[in-house]
Amino acid sequence: MASFLQNVIAGIETGSLYALAALGVVLIYRVSAVTNFAQGEMAMFSGFVAYSLWQRLSLAFGNTHVTYIMAFIGALLFATIFGFIVEKVFIRPALRGSLVGKMIITLGLIMIVNGSAGALFGTDTHAMRRAITTPSFFIGGLLIRPNAYFIIFLTLIIMFILFYLIRKTMFGVAIRATAENETTARLMGVPTAKVSSVAWIIATILGATAGILIAPATNVHTNMMADVHLKSFIAAVLGGFTSFIGPVIGGLLIGVMDNLVGFYISAKWRTVIVYGFLILILIVKPAGLFGKVRRKKV
């Protein structure tokens, strides 16, 4: 029972990170009709920035919690600028392009971001510290890892803020209006260009947060986000791209399933099994568990 619970908690831990990244993907998709395949690579780049900042600051001021927090905040600031620039330079010029064309631009972005990360930071693997370094302890046979609870807690707060923004504020209304119909929203006076810009910034910050928090488990290297990225996309597909709550549930589901399959069935084949599960779901429900099928008009 203890090992089951432990796996579920570990699953919720990674699952909430998948959910964060997936939320970023869905946010961008809804607002600017682009599927950002470079989300994972952008998060990896931000992870590298966090790592380098942390190293530099630790050298200068000593390895304390303060330097870690400063590095974390520095990386988020970087992500803000990064998301803004990417939207401005790569996405805006292709606004009127076809869906497939915009998808291909983000695929090109993967190559550019991944290649530049290798060129700037090198292709070595680095160890990153945990957010909470308090060592794990047992309570009645159950291993308690403070870092895991911190991650779950932090993502809950971030999601709460995000949902509050989307549901209750004027800005959220603008986002939802743009997501519903870009042209109509623009005619109604919604500054859709600004909305799209902000959506990219928020999504990049969400990805960066997920990247920095998962870095202790995956280490920092140019391929660190490959697995997380795929899982977050699967989470978005599972939940459906049409709602904001769907990807969160999808992410948690994937995280928990991944851990349980890895523990009880086969650690070697878990990617294959989890992926097979996705295909099954897609065959039964092509728009995801919570997605609505939208009929395209001719």
Binding site: G122, A236, V298
Partner: protein
């Protein structure tokens, strides 16, 4: 004087007749390119590594050709076609090493088995919108790479398979790069002609109609079921054949070659060369394969790690934003301009027609 002009015109007409049909053009261009390995057998002007590179160009041109049928003609985005290429490579290695089948049979089989898997993928794709399909195929690619690593009995795991036999056709063992290039060019030309005929039949037009609007195509009585399956099956077949050739060229297969990077590169080849264009697939493959070689010799820039990957990405985006029809159409545009000029000159010389 009159006479010589007449013969020139007759000759011109002969040449233009010869080059009128695209299949004939492919054949002629193929024969011209066949001269490279044949001449090199005597002179040895092109080094071994450059010969390997040329082989690579042709092999990836075959893969890109298949991928273009799917992406360019049918409009289906797949991010997992590296899996089919890997499948073809491992299968061919297994068939020739373990079962000791003849090369040509295993080449065919390593096209046909991915084709069957491609059919299954097509069945799933029938239900999915383009975005969901892209993600599902992305997962497919990762999953198959995982299988290549974990199924050690068949694939040799991380270490891969070594000492794959040389291809042997009718008792002739293809050991030299030049001979291999002849083989792959012949296969490429054959497949290009087949694609042309296939895509310029009813099927090709149905695929294009489906790409432009599924609903409109359906209303015209086009069976999405049939044609989506065609596109997936055929593209997987081509890519599998390319994989098999790759395995026999390098005589070594390992799982890291069949990752997302390869799928992205295939997509880049097709987009940069020209969507829905047979010549474009070949130009795109040459672009992606030759870029590293060209960059390597450049001072300053050549030293940057990953510069090829970065530049491919930049090229991909630049092409999509500025020339959405690909490089080949630029060539076609210039070629037609030239032809129009030559035609004008000819008619001036010939007087009244």
């Amino acid at each position: 004087m009159e006479d010589s002009k007449g013969t020139i015109r007759k000759n011109n007409r002969l040449i233009s007749n010869l080059l009128k049909g695209k299949p004939q053009q492919y054949l002629v261009v193929g024969i011209i390119f066949l001269l490279i390995p044949i001449i090199n057998l005597w002179t040895g002007m092109i080094s071994f590594s450059n010969m390997t590179l040329l082989n690579n160009v042709v092999i990836f041109a075959i893969a890109a050709l298949g991928f273009n049928i799917l992406l360019g003609y049918a409009g289906q985005v797949s991010l997992g076609h590296a899996a089919f290429m890997g499948m073809g490579a491992y299968l061919s290695a297994y068939l020739t090493m373990q079962l000791e089948l003849p090369f040509l049979l295993s080449l065919l089989l390593s096209g046909l088995v991915p084709m069957v898997i491609g059919l299954l993928l097509g069945l799933v794709a029938l239900r999915l919108a383009s975005l969901y399909l892209a993600i599902a195929t992305l997962g497919l690619g990762v999953t198959f790479q995982n299988i290549f690593i974990e199924w050690t009995a068949l694939t040799g795991g991380h270490a891969g398979l070594r000492r794959i036999p040389y291809p042997e056709i009718l008792g002739f063992e293809i050991r030299q790069r030049e001979h291999f290039l002849i083989l792959s060019i012949v296969i490429l030309v054959g497949l290009a002609i087949f694609s042309y005929n296939f895509l310029h039949s009813k099927t090709g037009r149905a695929l294009i109609a489906m790409r432009d609007s599924e609903h409109a195509a359906q209303a015209m009585g086009i069976s999405l079921f049939k044609y989506k399956l065609y596109a997936f099956a055929l593209s997987a077949f081509y890519v599998g054949i390319a994989g098999s050739l790759y395995a026999h060229l390098y005589r070594y297969v390992e799982p890291s070659a069949w990752g997302v990077e390869l799928s992205l590169n295939l997509l880049a080849m097709v987009v940069i060369g020209g969507l829905a264009s047979i010549g474009g697939s070949i130009v795109g493959a040459a672009f992606i394969q030759l870029l590293p070689r060209v960059m390597q010799d450049l001072p300053l820039v050549g030293g940057i790690t990953n510069i090829n990957f970065i530049l491919t990405g930049v090229a991909l985006i630049v092409v999509i934003i500025f020339f959405p029809t690909g490089l080949i159409r630029r060539f076609d545009f210039l070629w037609n301009k030239l032809k129009a000029k030559v035609g004008k000159l000819n008619s001036k010389e010939g007087g009244t027609p």
